[in-house]
Point group: C2
Chain length 88, copies 2
């Protein structure tokens, strides 16, 4: 089952959120990744996978409790979106 | 056709080199990615895709000329390996 949450796709079994971010330049992509690394360290929480090229980053965020997505996951996802928007 | 070149798998159509690097910790993975970003800027050349999680990074390096792999690509791949080994 897939629905949409602020641009994120919600997946079940295993529970995760996925979203693709696109950028105008490599510099912008790198700024996003660096800021995301800082955000991750702040929360001591790292996306399960980040796949990126020059102008995009695909992020997979697994459920923090490993079982089901909660508002805690949605909050973290929303912060990542806010971060990407702050670079535009 | 796939063969092995210092741990890299060579693929054709499109021509690319792929390799998985594993690390003991997230800190080591991040150090590798940061150093790779610096190396990329130095050469003005970025891997087509980097996919990473807490303790691994999968790198896809496309042929610099977009057609066929050359020693130039192999040299860049070897530098990435040297970089990963310098962190161990």
């Amino acid at each position: 089952m897939v629905d949409v949450l602020n641009g994120w796709e919600r997946r079940e079994k295993p529970a995760m959120l996925q979203r693709r971010f696109t950028f105008d330049s490599y510099a912008q992509t790198r700024a996003f990744l660096d800021a995301l690394a800082k955000l991750s360290e702040l929360h001591d929480r790292h996306p399960q996978n980040i796949s990126f090229g020059s102008t995009y980053a695909n992020i997979t965020l697994e459920a923090a409790d490993g079982v089901a997505l909660t508002t805690r996951d949605e909050d973290f996802a929303a912060q990542i979106v806010a971060l990407s928007e702050s670079l535009e």
